[in-house]
């Protein structure tokens, strides 16, 4: 089943580490942007989706009214009766009861809250504009509104972070019935404020990995499965929309900078807010078709991110043909010999010890 992704690029302020497409300010364009997304949706044929994910940026900045209109427009353009998961991302400082009420009323059943940390010092050093208390309030609010499926983002390796502060963050979140956690190792990306001016008390590479390993153990002891490189979930609470990405599935992305994967082709909208509003259906750039060998290698690379599921070469062979899969099997076996992958029958998994160093393995698997 295809996934539907909506990108909401608005942000109140750019976080110092962020390299996603987001636009601080320009909130007066929210209505026009909402309309543009609906126009782009209508340009597609009417079709059904299994998952919906509204990400950003900061979708909670849309406000209740725009959100209502957006969802109404999407319901109108597509068949969303079969949605089994509908997520919206929210930031603690902008989420309101009314917003959550409208979301729930429109079929949203999952909230992904950008908590990042529950230590005020770490939050301010990262350029986050909310406090720990605000995040806890937002979580409480979501629970009061009846959301049973709540995810939180946590960053490992923030300036000044210690295991003590990270453990506090994790303990508080798991204690508040958060059932899914995305735990990201901070990486300094080019073009970000952190890259231009790296904070002095940034934990080193070894320290950061240490923190991540402790976080993993901590969460696993509390029943969370480490199901993807950066994602942990209680049983049955994995993010279905994202699982579809990692299984090489199809999805349509609407909005500025949103990407789609349909019938073997990946394409992307340009990352310009005004350009998108002017001509939402004409914003498409960067279309890519891979040859079958490239495509199946890409799928294997993605599937290996799923630490418990991995890639089953039988399934790949069934999809692409036995003769095409031989090269991939050879590359996978090469990594098994180096003990970087684990082989279970026709299934290959990342070795648990090399999750944080998976790039080399994945690069070898790709070609």
């Amino acid at each position: 089943m295809r996934g539907l992704y909506i990108h909401i690029p608005f942000c109140a302020a750019k976080c110092l580490y962020c390299d996603f497409y987001s636009v601080p300010g320009k909130l007066d364009l929210r209505e026009k942007y909402t309309e543009a997304v609906i126009r782009e949706a209508r340009a597609y044929s009417r079709q059904s989706f299994g998952t919906l994910y509204i990400g950003g940026g900061t979708p909670s900045l849309l406000g209740p009214q725009n959100l209502g209109e957006l969802l109404a427009g999407l319901y109108d353009a597509f068949d969303l009766s079969g949605l089994k998961e509908a997520t919206i991302e929210a930031n603690p400082e902008s989420v309101t009861g009314e917003f959550l009420y409208i979301a729930q009323d429109s079929g949203i059943n999952r909230i992904s809250l950008g908590v990042q940390s529950l230590n005020d010092d770490e939050l301010s050093k990262a350029g986050r504009i909310h406090s720990a208390k605000k995040a806890i309030d937002a979580l409480t609010l979501a629970q009061e509104c009846g959301f049973a499926n709540i995810s939180a983002d946590v960053i490992v390796g923030l300036p000044g972070q210690t295991w003590h502060s990270l453990e506090h963050t994790l303990r508080t979140l798991t204690g508040m019935q958060v059932s899914h956690l995305s735990v990201y190792c901070l990486s300094i990306e080019g073009g970000t404020a952190y890259a231009a001016c790296p904070p002095a008390d940034l934990p080193g590479e070894d320290e950061q990995v240490e923190l991540f390993e402790r976080a993993r153990t901590y969460l696993q002891q509390r029943g969370f499965a480490h199901y993807e490189i950066s994602n942990f979930a209680l049983p049955g609470k994995e993010c279905a929309h994202n699982l579809n990405y990692w299984r090489g599935g199809e999805y349509i992305g609407l909005g500025a900078a949103a990407a789609s994967h349909v019938k073997g082709s990946r394409y992307k909208n340009a990352a310009t807010l005004e350009g998108y509003i002017a001509d939402p259906a004409g914003a498409r750039i960067e279309q890519e078709w891979l040859k079958p060998e490239g495509k199946l290698a890409e799928e294997a690379m993605l599937r290996l991110r799923l630490l418990q599921e991995g890639v089953d070469t039988n399934n790949i062979a069934a999809e692409y043909g036995c003769e095409k899969v031989a090269g991939l099997i050879e590359r996978l076996d090469g990594q098994v010999a180096l003990k970087l992958l684990v082989k279970q029958g026709t299934r290959y998994l990342l070795h648990p010890s090399c999750v944080m160093t998976s790039n080399r393995v994945l690069a070898e698997v790709l070609a």
Binding site: E205, M356, N359
Partner: protein, 596 residues
Amino acid sequence: MKHIRNFCVIAHIDHGKSTLADRILEITGLVRKASVNQMLDSMDLERERGITIKAKSVRIPYKSKNGGEYVLNLIDTPGHVDFNYEVSRSLNACDGAVLLVDATQGVEAQTIANANLALDAGLKIIPVINKIDLPGAMVDDCSLQLYSMLGLRIEDILLVSAKDGTGVSELLEAIVDRIPPPWGSTDEPLKCLIFDSFYDAYRGVIPHIRVFSGCVKPGDKIMVKSTEKIFEVEEVGYFSLGLAQSPGLQAGDVGYIVALIRNAGEIHVGDTVVSADHPEVPAIPGFRMSQSMVYCGIYPIITSDYARLGAALEKFKLNDSSVVYEKENSAALGYGYRIGFLGILHMEIALERLRREYEQDIIATMPSVIYKVVCTNGDILMLDNPSKFPPVGQIDHIEEPIIRARIIVPSDYVGPCMELAEAKRSSLVGIEHPDDRRAILIYDLPLAEMITDFYDRLKSVSRGYASMDYELNGYRAGDLVKVDILVNNGVVDALSYISPRDSASIKGRALIYKLSRVIPRHLFKIPLQAAIGSQVIARADIFPMRKDVIAKCYGGDITRKRKLLEKQKEGKKKMKMVGFVEVPQEAFLSLMKIEE
């Protein structure tokens, strides 16, 4: 013959030699002003065939103000210490030399060294101060230097701006007036000096010659003295803009011979060519075969490029007959070649040319000299590759080549130069004082010390003023040991080196430190060790990489992240696999020079 002038231009690098040559070609009308750039453009093409007009020789017709019509042969000379012998041979082809000094820089070391060679060869010298149009020109100072350092008369000095042409006409007149015409008789049997050569893909090796006596024309049989090989002359000519065929060359002329010489090894710079009918004509004294002093291994970065590298070397050898090479096999680096060079600078130039002109992606191992290994059973082995040394227990002692170096240095820098030499296991043979401004330091020192960084350091401690040349002066026993480098517990044969025992561990530590900086972290711990036999003298570990992960990989950036991984994989191709360790090329390059 009275109307021929054979001369060269001696100058320090950047003192304006090429500009002066351009201007001379222009003023004599050989090249029109507008076409100079075109001429430069066409040089790339010419170079592919091995000819460089300006860099070699050119015959310039010149009508003097005295009414006479002259032929000026401008002969180029190579210019650095490893090629001293080649320089002296090409000077021998001349009767005079224009000594060019940059008015803003003054007389420099290389100028003195080459001017002395020219004086030794009995050449008439015309001192010229160039760049007099520049605001920083110090004409008086330069004149005094030419007088005091080289004994040239101030009234003989010409002032020139090669850039704007000032004084160039006067220089041409001086060449006619002051440089003697060549001597020698056309009636005597043929005798020519080979002062250069190049390789033409269709016509083989084409030697550049100066005819000292007799004449040569197509159809003649000639003999190369040192090899006694006989060739039939197909074509002769001189150098105009390109090769200009002529019916014959005679005593006094400078030109070329085409004689279908296929093998670059059959003809050498400095050799004498005579008529096959008169093999008894003696060789011009001073010829010797060029001798390889420094060796290194070269290996293709991508193993499958081995055949391509072999083909490139074959071509390269045709252009530079002074390199020697043979196949070599390294456990760490695979198949490659061992190459011998005249000296360290020659090596650097040759490797650079292989990389650039011949587009070879290569790794070069540390340079080595030829060691004499005396074994306990009495065997004597001459080895140019440390990895071929027998085990420590079988070695009685090791002898190394010693050079006698003559370092010419302004008096102010004698102290630092002596300090440097003494740090290099040298022994002072003598000090000469040709005048009160210069000293000549004569040292015996191991060639191995010279090839690491001696020349660079000599230049730096003397602010570029010292110059040196050297010759081999036998072998001497030293307390030398072979040091192995182990990466991940395996000996990397290509990194083994010979060192004096007392500095082995300092050098080993420096090397291990460098390796630890350039080998990237792997997924496992990599021990690095330097060892003499089984005794470890230096050690460092490269700790495993902890984080190399794409944390966020969602719908929007899958293509981008995939490309990121592909790029990472691409980077790996530049690495050389040593066991399970990926060693970047810089690791080998950085080991070439180890500073203290």
